[in-house]
């Protein structure tokens, strides 16, 4: 069974979803929770079975699908992807568990299960086309969730979300086809297998073009400035669960893909585009943080804040060294946890007041102390307080990029200031002061069902903030191999210089370790 654990992880939820049509409407929630829990347990099992010392792919499966055109069903997992999978399983679980009473809940839960299939699929796929299949497929359930359960502008938002991402990924598809063609020219046979592509060394100009092609697909998904405008609409209109999954997992597809495709395939191009992308990332960080500060709708604040954080992730990714990339991957998980939690929290108040406008609140700390406390913890995590999960990620990402450029890092570091500004402002508006609105006077504090979702998140936030090693270790192992691969593949002097060669560094590491003790 362990040999096929990944396929099980992918297709179990979908299968369960199909069977779910049979389940009675009243007990569908328990069914969904059960399925999601099993999936989560399987994911945990994957973690325990995972060998931390191996840097390469594990639990690989290969099934011939279209051998004549080099398309095969290849899946595998390494330190980079594993935790995001676990996160996806986890969020689907608590998402379903914390689901309030929504209209036709049955469709919702089945859709969520299908969505889970696509999410897991994206992160384990090792064949470009398979990756693309899941990548595109993930749009459909999200489209439905936003469009069917969303707010007044839901149709506009969902269609925009779909088409924008769709357009971007079609360009990416062209890029993939080119990549396969180059492989065909080099080796005389078609292949879309990622591990085959890794062995391919392309001339720089090709790398640049292909990098751009892939960039469109990924950047829109992330979403990077200036392709980010679909996100606020999607978040603003989506139901709570939709925003949670979107922020926690779907956005990570983009950044994950950068690490999985762009960096190892086009090391020279990555170096070439490092500064432009870093600048974009910095614009994301500061500009969106300012936009977030201007918002009146707390959900929009969180939405823009997640764009801002994605900027830091991008920056860490393009640090092109172990510290930065590990940091960005860790930050993906961290941001998943924190922003997911924040969206859940916004959902909590939305369920009670049916508004997200901050001027409707104020003094909530008096009436909902528990809620205020959890919100406070999550806010501080999102601001990047040490000993919370976010800090580790941000610290490492910035630290990593500092090696590439001092001044840009200094600018990016402004994140910790502007982030604090909009978050504290929002918190002040919502929780501090006296209760002015009559309807806020006796709001019920968070109930059990919501705590089920929130408490685990708080625990993770603190635990991984204090002791990130169990996650950081495997990530580090895999990232080191990626960086080494990039260094060996790179052809330009610049790239050789920028991307550290770990085989040499080992000695230095030793000395620094000695220095440490």
């Amino acid at each position: 069974m362990l040999d096929h654990i990944l396929s099980i992880l992918i297709f179990f939820p979908a299968l369960a979803g199909v069977l779910g049509f049979v389940v009675n409407k009243d007990s569908i929630r328990s069914y969904g929770v059960a399925v999601a829990t099993i999936e989560f347990v399987l994911a945990l099992w994957l973690w325990f079975a995972f060998d931390n010392t191996v840097s390469g792919m594990q639990f690989m499966e290969t099934i011939a699908l279209i051998p004549t055109f080099g398309i095969n069903y290849i899946v595998g997992v390494d330190g980079i992807s594993m935790f995001i999978i676990i996160l996806a399983a986890f969020f689907t679980m608590i998402g379903i568990a914390s689901l309030g009473d929504t209209k036709d809940i049955k469709n919702m839960i089945i859709t969520l299960l299908f969505l889970q299939m696509t999410m897991v699929g994206v992160f384990v796929a090792l064949d470009a086309i398979i990756f693309y299949v899941f990548w595109e497929l993930s749009l459909v359930p999200m489209l439905y969730i936003i469009g069917a359960w969303g707010g007044p502008l839901r149709i506009y938002a969902s269609v925009k979300f779909f088409l924008y991402t769709f357009a971007g990924s079609l360009v990416m598809l062209v890029g993939m086809l080119f990549m396969a063609y180059f492989y065909y020219q080099a080796t005389g046979q078609w292949s879309f297998a990622l591990l085959d592509w890794y062995r391919l060394i392309l001339p720089e100009t090709f790398q640049l073009w292909l990098f751009v092609a892939f960039f469109f697909g990924f950047a829109i998904k992330v979403p990077m400035f200036p392709f980010h405008t679909w996100l606020p609409y999607a978040h603003g209109q989506a139901p709570t669960i939709g925003s949670v999954i979107l922020a926690a997992i779907l956005l990570k597809m983009g950044t994950y893909a950068f690490i999985r495709f762009s960096l190892p395939l086009f090391p020279d191009a990555s170096v070439y585009f490092m500064y432009p992308i870093a600048v974009l990332a910095i614009i994301m960080i500061i500009y969106t943080a300012m936009v977030a500060y201007a918002q009146k709708d707390v959900k929009q604040v969180v939405a823009y804040s997640s764009v801002s954080h994605m900027g830091v992730i991008i920056l860490g990714t393009f640090a092109l060294n172990v510290e930065g990339i590990s940091g960005s991957i860790f930050l993906m998980i961290a941001h998943g946890v924190v922003s997911g939690a924040l969206f859940l929290l916004v959902g909590v108040i939305y369920d009670r007041r049916h508004t997200k406008m901050m001027d409707q609140f104020g003094g909530l700390a008096h009436v909902m102390p528990k809620y205020a406390t959890i919100f406070g913890i999550m806010m501080m995590a999102s601001v990047g307080m040490p000993l919370t999960i976010n800090f580790v990620g941000e610290f490492l990402s910035l630290l990593g990029f500092y090696q590439q450029s001092h001044i840009l890092t200094l600018l990016a570091g402004i994140a910790i200031i502007v982030g604090a500004i909009y978050m504290l402002a929002a918190y002040k508006k919502m929780f501090f002061g006296n209760v002015t609105k009559e309807e806020n006077k006796n709001l019920p504090d968070v109930n059990k069902r919501e705590l089920i979702a929130l408490v685990p998140l708080v625990i993770i936030t603190i635990w991984l903030g204090i002791y990130p090693k169990p996650v950081l270790g495997p990530i580090n192992t895999s990232v080191e191999s990626v960086v080494q691969l990039m260094h060996e593949k790179s052809i330009t002097e610049e790239a050789k210089k920028r991307i550290p060669n770990l085989l040499e560094d080992i000695t230095i590491t030793k000395t620094s370790m000695k220095g440490a003790h």
């Binding site: 011939a64 699908l65 279209i66 299949v133 595109e136 779909f162 062209v174």
Partner: protein, 502 residues
């Protein structure tokens, strides 16, 4: 004093005629039956035509086997040419027809199916198309083309509603013009080379290496015009939406597939050699035609209020998309053409059959046309299954993986990439994005809006019978599980195309 003509029957090789003769015989059979006992139920004729098509299919398998063994076969004074393209296209034609015929078994009665002639004409049409694709003799192409077209005009008209007559007239008139263009073009080539066989024309032209290119181009222009009409290339496309709207959904779906593939094959035979012998002009013009057709058709589809017209425009743009294969002209591209078209026919037949299923006899109040978008609003609430199936076809048409058409699109774009048409590849990709909008529009109506029009019956079943449901089911399975068949399909198609030298 003429010497007596003596020709050995072997050299005639009449077996090559078999696939075309079978439907003709079948048609005659039906007519005779009608003579003996008229006013029989349509189901009889449906089943007979189905059987005949089945036999036809067998014959095709036979000739396929022959081709696989010893390549292209010429016959009947070398007029017939049974090569890979012919066989592949005939497969598509016959199978599509077999999928189409059962749609006649609709719940509500429609006048055309009452006549035996309908089915007879239908079979004649198939024969016509088969002739058209399995020859490289311009005369025979012309004959086949016209046989098919004339039959088709009549079939449209038999739907017996104002719009369908209008559609028939329009189609007919423009068809006549196209015929004129065709014959003129053929005349020019004949004048230039003294032959009407494409491969001889090719050889002659290349011998005097395109001395008077100007006249060649004149011929090419007229050919382009007439096939542009058949393939509904912009600006020769104007008939398409009206005719689709005028004719019954089932027939519209059929028209979006079968006549086109036949025309594609001829166009391929005719233009490939010109492009390969480096007629830059043709390359440029085709490039322009392809891009314009794809893009404009998509743009017009955006603004449609009626699903059927929307699908009409979408099929125009699909045709343009596939036309790129002829421009690219590599083996991969040519096989991509057939590959794409097979997958396309599955999906498109499916979607048109869904329209056919939901076809009311008379319009409820507030519904402008047979298949206006409003009609489908909130369908997910009333009949989720139908809505999901329709959505599935839409997604497939939009090229969303892993549904059928995605693989076609992917392979076609890849062909463009390998053929060195990078920009074209990008344009094709982005067009799929534009197309996404109007396919999504229907999904939005079905899943995200509340019912606008009150239907007295469940519209997803007003016209449904088991036969139609079966067809839809076939289409659904074909669409979802395409990825299992893709590999063998590719190998099959590629080998046939390659062995017939394209």
């Amino acid at each position: 004093m003429l010497s007596p003509v003596n020709i050995s029957m072997e050299s005639l090789n009449l077996i090559t005629l078999a696939p075309m003769l079978i439907p003709v015989v079948g048609a005659l059979l039906i007519i005779i039956m009608d003579l003996f006992k008229s006013e029989q139920d349509k189901s009889l004729y449906v089943m007979i035509s189905l059987l005949i098509l089945g036999i036809d299919f067998m014959a095709l398998l036979e000739s396929a086997g022959v081709f696989a063994k010893d390549g292209t076969v010429m016959g009947v004074f070398d007029v017939m040419m049974i090569d890979g393209l012919a066989i592949l296209s005939q497969f598509i034609i016959v199978v599509a027809s077999m999928l189409f015929i059962p749609l006649a078994l609709s719940k509500s009665r429609f006048s055309e199916y009452a006549y035996a002639e309908f089915f007879a004409l239908f079979l004649f049409m198939i024969a016509g198309f088969q002739f058209m694709v399995s020859t490289d003799n311009l005369i025979l192409v012309f004959v086949g083309l016209e046989t098919a077209s004339l039959a088709l005009y009549t079939l449209i008209a038999m739907h017996n509603r104002d719009k369908s007559f209008e559609a028939a007239v329009k189609y007919f008139t423009m068809g006549a013009l196209a015929a004129g263009f065709y014959s003129f073009g053929a005349m020019v080539f004949y004048a230039l080379t003294g032959s009407v066989e494409i491969n001889q024309i090719a050889s002659v032209l290349s011998d005097n290496n395109y001395a008077d290119i100007g006249f060649v181009l004149v011929g090419v222009v007229f050919m382009l015009a007439s096939f542009g009409f058949k393939l509904s290339m912009v600006p020769f496309h104007t008939w398409t939406p009206d005719v689709y709207e005028g004719s019954s959904s089932a027939l519209a779906g059929y028209m979006s597939i079968v006549p086109k593939i036949a025309a594609f094959v001829v166009a391929m035979r005719l233009f490939e050699f010109l492009i390969h012998s480096g007629v830059v002009w043709l390359e440029v013009v085709l490039y322009a035609l392809v891009v314009i057709t794809m893009t404009m058709a998509n743009i017009w589809a955006l603004v449609q209020q009626d699903v059927k017209r929307m699908l009409a425009y979408s099929s125009i743009s699909h045709a343009g998309f596939v036309m790129a294969a002829i421009l690219i002209g590599t083996t991969q591209a040519n096989s991509a053409l057939f590959f794409y078209w097979i997958l396309f026919s599955v999906t498109n037949l499916g979607s048109f059959s869904m329209l056919w299923i939901s076809r009311q006899k008379k319009l409820p109040s507030g519904q402008q046309s047979d298949h206006s978008f409003d009609k489908f609003s909130g369908l997910a609430k009333t009949s989720p299954l139908a809505a999901s199936i329709m959505a599935l076809f839409m997604l497939s048409l939009a090229g969303l993986p892993p549904f059928a058409l995605f693989w076609g699109k992917m392979y076609m774009i890849s062909a463009a990439v390998t053929g060195g048409y990078t920009v074209l590849a990008l344009i094709m990709a982005l067009n799929s994005a534009i197309a996404g909008y109007y396919y999504l529009k229907l999904i939005v109506y079905m899943f995200m809006k509340d019912p606008i029009i009150v239907h007295n019956a469940d519209i997803s079943a007003v016209n449904a019978t088991n036969a139609i449901k079966t067809i839809v089911g076939v289409a659904v399975i074909g669409t979802i599980f395409a990825f299992l068949t893709v590999n063998s399909l590719l190998e099959f198609v590629t080998s046939f195309v390659y062995n017939s030298g394209y």
